[in-house]
Symmetry: C2
DNA sequence: GTCTATAACACGATAGAC
DNA sequence: GTCTATCGTGTTATAGAC
């Protein structure tokens, strides 16, 4: 409440264990007993440090989403400055949106599942948090995309960005299982290629000709 | 076990209530008490008719996914026949993949959420079922797509179909909340337009130029 | 096939000693 | 700040009467 006691190992251990377990089994599928056991701390520690299971879950998610969104906006601002008076290239916009997610996941793959869970099927108590975190960056991206895709209506831009988000989250959710699902066809051992492939797809989809009104 | 007693109202009432509640709150977030109460049947009826909560969940999902996959393959076969010796038009392939999902959802929107949940973050005991249901149609679509997208490797085709699936499921998951999320910008009151918009995006993404090898 | 009653257990949260 | 012990509640599943 006052100064953060950043040397509190228990606090961090709980967050790390919870991130992994919440990602793999969801909020309802994970118990505080499992978390505290994995973290090697006492059962009562969660309620002492976080107050409740829901508060812990919220903190776990905010700890991962906030740096990502900050980095997104930072890269986007750079791209905007680089473009000067011109519209920001579509590919640069998409890159700034997608890349931070997968870069944050380096070495901690379960985190991608956590992202996916929270945006695709968040627990009910997270709706408010998700709306806030989602809306913040959405507004910014819509603004930038609109100048790079002037032939599309704002609604059209929103829909398409929604699709891109869905593609990204679905890949994120299955980053660990894609090799099995594709029966060895798809490899997940080249993160750079994975990101580039997804960006290629997203840029093409976003830039598709306007749907003619029926 | 022997002949299906198709006039068993209790069986159906449980399935319908379970579909709605599982879709909204997930497997772990739904209790048998809630389901039986919503269905207006006795608590013990679930175990009598289905054996366990997991068996009920499996049955709920298979009841929705199987007709969809059958319809997909039927439409795809028609398109193939219509195309004769020529490759099936990309748009026809995508249409056959996406349209049955949203048509099945007419009048029962929670069903879309169920789809999304099961493919994006299925409960652990569903992994085998999902792999089976996914693999079945995936193989067929990969084969057809390969002839329509000969410039892409099989792996590339799989990845892109994965992205399309993600877009579709994300829209499905938020079909009820997109108006709120977009602050009124996007409307969900024209299902035909929604399907067409998604197909436009998917076709453009699938048909994107091949990613140059770095 | 439907019901009541309950077994058997797991859950989140907390009180209170250290 | 950490621990043990436990409270109160809710869970799935089932036994057994009707």
């Amino acid at each position: 409440m006052n100064l953060d006691t950043c040397d509190d190992a228990t606090h961090e251990r709980i967050l790390n264990a919870a991130e992994k377990l919440f990602a793999q089994h969801g909020h309802d599928g994970t118990t505080l007993r499992e978390i505290t056991k994995a973290a090697g701390v006492n059962l009562a520690a969660v309620n002492y440090h976080f107050g409740s299971k829901q508060a812990l879950y919220t903190e776990v998610f905010q700890r991962v989403i906030r740096p990502i969104n900050e980095r997104r906006l930072a890269i986007l601002a750079d791209a905007e400055q680089l473009a000067g008076d011109q519209p920001v290239p579509l590919r640069a916009i998409v890159d700034s949106f997608i890349r931070p997610v997968f870069e944050m996941a380096r070495g901690r793959p379960p985190f991608l599942l956590l992202m996916s869970r929270n945006f695709s099927a968040p627990p009910a108590f997270m709706h408010e948090v998700m709306g806030r975190e989602f809306g913040k960056v959405a507004q910014r991206y819509l603004q930038v995309l609109q100048t790079s895709l002037p032939h599309l209506s704002p609604a059209e831009v929103f829909w398409r960005m929604f699709y891109v988000t869905g593609s990204m989250l679905f890949v994120a959710a299955h980053s660990q299982s894609i090799e099995r699902l594709s029966q060895g066809l798809c490899r997940s051992d080249d993160p750079d290629a994975s990101i580039r492939r997804l960006i290629d797809f997203a840029v093409a989809g976003l830039g598709a000709p306007k749907t003619p009104v029926a």
